[in-house]
């Protein structure tokens, strides 16, 4: 199974110049590990040195904030999306 990943264009130089691409993975947890393993520069911009997600970064699985998921071992389905978003980007 694969999942469509979307990252902000500002971070596209961390992901081979692409802001939208697909990853092969079986579960959401696998997809997250694969994303950060394949693109280590992305980890630097998404996570603080302490390992916490940066305060204004959101990771969404479809329309759900991953931070509130009880279990990330969700089997991926056709059409799933993993989105990196900037929290409160409006003016």
């Amino acid at each position: 199974m694969s999942i469509e990943v979307s990252v902000p264009s500002l971070l596209a130089d961390c992901t081979g110049g692409r802001s939208r691409f697909r990853l092969e993975a079986d579960t959401l947890e696998d997809a997250l590990e694969r994303l950060l393993g394949d693109y280590p520069l992305l980890r630097h911009h998404l996570y603080r040195e302490s390992g916490e997600l940066r305060p204004h970064v959101l990771l969404y699985y479809n329309d759900q904030n991953i931070a509130w998921l009880a279990d990330r071992r969700i089997p991926l389905r056709e059409g799933d999306r993993l989105l990196v978003l900037q929290a409160v980007s409006g003016g």
Binding site: L10, L41, E49, S50
Partner: protein, 367 residues
């Protein structure tokens, strides 16, 4: 291939590059590069046969890193092992305030000054970076407290004749010096004015705005700090004020940010109204000059005599080029860049209105 002059401009919305030949009469503006990233530091490195342009990029949401270009800005690469604090330090890398070269004998060495305040070094022309953690392990570190611009290490000065001799300056913390290549550090603030940080560490709490070494004598260092303008004749061991001519109003304390000094000894500052106001006095953008052998500052340049400019010039937003008849450049918080070719007396506004200008550096490089 003729050398040209480039003025590298870091703004809060990317990097811009002004280019001219050595006459510096006509300028071309290119950019923005790295659009969307703030560039608190830029540096053009021609050492070791390179032609490498660096930018210290940061973003409120995505943190900070260093990017470089080997094709004069056309394409950029993010360094894979950039400055980063170890997780156990608890420090966070928020901005890169300075990218500075090592001594001439170490052409592959660069230093990066960061916020939160710390110093990083690269020994491979900027590809990998490591913290010189003797600084952040100094016993006074718990007493470091951020100034209005953040707790930033904004100035790095390496003795050109002794690469192990390094001076750094940090806002609201002070000057630290190392004689062993950055392994150990000592506060170096004797004679400066302390600012109220509320912290019980008397050896720190000195708000340095910008520090510059005299090109002729590395023992002579100048600075603009929160409480005035100072000089050291002993490599920063002690400081004394050099403020004659700067008191425009009774009780007015000299206040400003950038400081430049030419090889011939011309020093330049741009005083602001006060710490509270932080804009040009009465809207007049006046550049002050003093030669190292003179006893008084003079307002030599009224940059825009017919208009008011209620703006500021930030600490790293003034620079000299390295031609014999040097050019002096500064950028404002309202995005204008100005150039003088006559020791700061008359000024020309370069084309384009940019975003808030954070950093101005010059680079003499083959086109």
């Amino acid at each position: 291939m003729a050398k040209g002059i480039k003025v590298l401009v870091g703004t809060n919305k990317g990097v811009f590059i002004y280019s001219s030949d050595e006459s510096r009469s006509e300028w071309r503006l290119d950019g923005p590069y790295l659009s969307g990233w703030e560039a608190y530091s830029v540096f053009g490195d021609s050492r070791g046969g390179r032609k490498r342009l660096f930018a210290g990029t940061s973003h409120a949401a995505y943190g900070a890193t260093i990017r470089y270009s080997d094709d004069l800005g056309a394409t950029w690469t993010q360094v894979e092992q950039g400055p980063k604090y170890a997780a156990e330090t608890g420090f966070s890398l928020n901005r890169i305030w300075q990218i500075a070269p090592g001594a001439p004998s170490e052409p592959d060495t660069l230093y990066a000054g960061a916020e939160e305040a710390g110093l990083f070094v690269s020994r491979d022309a900027g590809l990998t970076w490591n913290e010189l953690d003797g600084l952040t392990k100094h016993p006074s570190r718990p007493g470091w407290f951020p100034g209005a611009g953040g707790m930033c290490l904004h100035t790095v000065i390496v003795d050109p004749g002794n690469p192990r001799r390094i001076r750094v300056a940090m806002s609201a913390v002070g000057v630290f010096r190392s004689e062993d290549g950055g392994e150990t550090w000592s506060p170096s603030n004797e004679g400066l004015g302390r600012v109220p940080t509320g912290q019980p560490y008397p050896e720190v709490g000195y708000c340095i705005h910008k520090m510059a070494a005299d090109p002729l004598n590395p023992e002579t260092i100048y600075m603009q700090e929160h409480c005035g303008v100072f000089r050291s004749d002993n490599g920063g061991a002690s400081w004394y004020p050099i403020e004659e001519g700067l008191t425009i109003k009774e009780g007015d304390m000299p206040f400003g940010f950038p400081f430049c000094v030419s090889p011939g000894g011309d020093m330049f500052i741009i005083p602001l109204e006060s710490s509270e106001q932080r804009t040009m006095r009465d809207g007049r953008m006046l550049v002050y000059r003093r030669h190292r052998d003179e006893r008084e500052w003079l307002p030599v340049g009224d940059v825009v005599p017919d208009e008011q400019r209620h703006v500021s010039v930030l600490r790293d937003a003034m620079a000299l080029d390295d031609l014999d008849d040097y050019g002096l450049y500064f950028g404002t918080t309202s995005g204008e860049l100005f150039c003088s070719l006559d020791r700061g007396v008359t000024w020309k506004r370069l084309p384009g209105l940019l975003s808030r200008i954070l950093s101005v550096k010059t680079w003499r490089v083959d086109e």
